[in-house]
């Protein structure tokens, strides 16, 4: 499994490098409004082709770009019931703190586990290559955290069981 991780992340990094050319674009429909066009999807000439990168059947990444905003949606691998609830719990925890993260979307896109929304303003405030570094590190950190949480649950379970059973000796 680890052998596909590096190419997957490299592919996402290269795609983001190409897709993250965002510029300020005031709204065409409403005067003096400036909205992320990728969320509205009202004018097809402002949207680029969405790119879907699949690592395997259960892990994929959807990158949708428009003239002033970029949306990245991730689906994380969930092998069994325990990983399922740990992932849901952890990603919900992160999404609720979306304001602190700024580039995180409060609700994931339908069919995915977590989404980012990057606008031209973010690109003006932060360096583009560092922002991409952050996204890729985020993905690695999610995987690491889920597996560490699962291991801590199993270790605790083993300890709890051993202590209980030792009482009977």
């Amino acid at each position: 499994m680890a052998s596909t991780l590096r190419p997957y992340l490299t592919c996402i990094r290269n795609t983001l490098d190409a897709a993250m050319c965002l510029q300020n674009f005031p709204c065409q429909e409403v005067e003096r409004h400036n909205k992320p066009e990728i969320e509205l999807k009202s004018s097809p000439e402002l949207l680029l082709n969405p790119v879907l990168i699949c690592r395997n059947e259960s892990e994929k990444c959807l990158i949708e770009t428009s003239i002033n905003s970029l949306r990245i949606s991730l689906k994380v691998k969930q092998a069994d019931e325990l990983e399922n609830i740990l992932t849901k719990k952890f990603l919900r925890f992160l999404s609720m703190r979306a304001e602190a993260f700024q580039v995180l979307r409060r609700k994931p896109v339908q069919g995915y586990d977590i989404s980012f929304l990057i606008t031209n303003y973010h690109c003006e405030e932060m360096q583009k290559h560092k922002l991409i570094d952050f996204i890729v590190q985020f993905m690695e950190d999610i995987d690491k955290e889920i597996s560490e949480l699962k291991m801590s649950v199993n270790t605790r379970g083993r300890l709890v069981a051993t202590e209980f059973l030792k009482q009977f000796i």
Partner: protein, 323 residues
């Protein structure tokens, strides 16, 4: 604290405090609740400062378990055996409680160690009362007999309106717990913990422990039980207790561990969730720090300020050395 202790810490402390201040006429009237809906009430009046009234309320039983006079069978005998004449049972018990005990604090043994162990025993009143039927059955197991007039399948209460089941035989007692949880995350965590019980037993050094198994469906022993008592979203755990597990001093420990098995698993599931929250919060902080590194302006400004200051200091030192 990994294991749940059989004495209530708050009750023990209250008793000790009362004992230190026996001569002072202080009114005492405390209510509190402990896990699985066991309620305590302690009362001391200024008229009789040596007498302490302790009332206990037990979790309400479901339809399969029967309480005799509001107490599990064997409870009155167990209380008399544990406490002797220092403690009297008040009949009827205080309103809203299953049991009221009158303790005469001036009649405690004079020896400090004996006093301490007696108070610990009083603070373990929950173990004595709720564990009484289990104690009766396991005591008979230790002598390889079966208690007279006992049903082939016994249901005992361990949580409000929920019971666990025992199949007492002369050479072994099979204990089956239907594990029920309210929260969906609790269910998944508890299922993984319970499966660890089966795995942990296979490690070396634990061969003498009771054989333990887990199944998602009701096991053979519970054939005749009505379906509503068998709703268990985290499966069924079965332990087989042999006479060697209840010999001598091990009896009390076994009774306590089996009576509070569900509470033990539930406690550790909650601890696990708390630990996960701490981890997640730490991870959020790390990620936000990583994001802050993506901001360039602050770094540039401080670098320029620093180089400005350095030139300034060098100029001054040159002036000083000349003057």
């Amino acid at each position: 604290m990994i294991l749940l202790q059989s004495h209530s810490k708050f009750l023990l402390q209250t008793l000790w405090n009362r004992l230190q201040n026996l001569e002072k006429g202080i009114e005492l009237d405390h209510h509190w609740v402990e896990f699985d809906d066991v309620r305590y009430h302690v009362q001391v009046s200024t008229k009789n400062p040596h007498v302490l009234l302790l009332s206990v309320s037990l979790p309400p039983p479901s339809s399969e378990t029967i309480f005799v006079n509001g107490l599990p069978f064997g409870a009155i005998d167990a209380i008399k055996a544990a406490y002797g004449s220092t403690v009297q049972i008040k009949d009827p018990p205080r309103d809203g409680y299953n049991l009221t005990l009158k303790i005469n604090l001036s009649k405690l043994p004079a020896n400090q160690d004996q006093k301490q162990s007696f108070l610990v025993k009083v603070a373990s009143v929950r173990e004595v009362v709720l564990g009484a039927p289990l104690r009766v059955i396991l005591k008979h197991l230790a002598s390889r007999t079966v208690a007279p007039d006992i049903d082939p399948l016994v249901a005992l209460v361990h949580r409000p309106r929920e019971s666990f089941f025992l199949v007492p035989k002369a050479d072994k007692v099979t204990v089956v717990y239907p594990m029920r949880f309210n929260d969906s995350i609790d269910i998944v965590l508890a299922t993984s913990f319970l499966q660890e019980f089966v795995e942990a037993r296979r490690t070396a050094g634990l061969h003498n422990t009771p054989p333990c198994s887990w199944s998602p469906t009701p096991p053979q022993e519970l054939k005749e039980v009505p379906a509503d008592a068998l709703l268990a979203n985290a499966g069924f755990v079965t332990f087989v207790i042999f006479p060697r597990h209840v010999e001598g001093p091990k009896l009390d420990r076994t009774v306590w561990n089996l009576s509070t098995f569900h509470a033990y698993v539930s406690y550790h599931v909650k601890c696990s969730e708390g630990f996960m929250h701490t981890r997640m919060r730490r991870r959020v902080e790390t990620l936000i720090q990583a994001l802050d590194r993506a901001r360039p302006e602050l770094e540039k400004k401080t670098a320029m300020n620093r180089s400005f200051k350095r030139l300034g200091i060098k100029k001054d030192s040159r002036n000083n050395s000349f003057s």
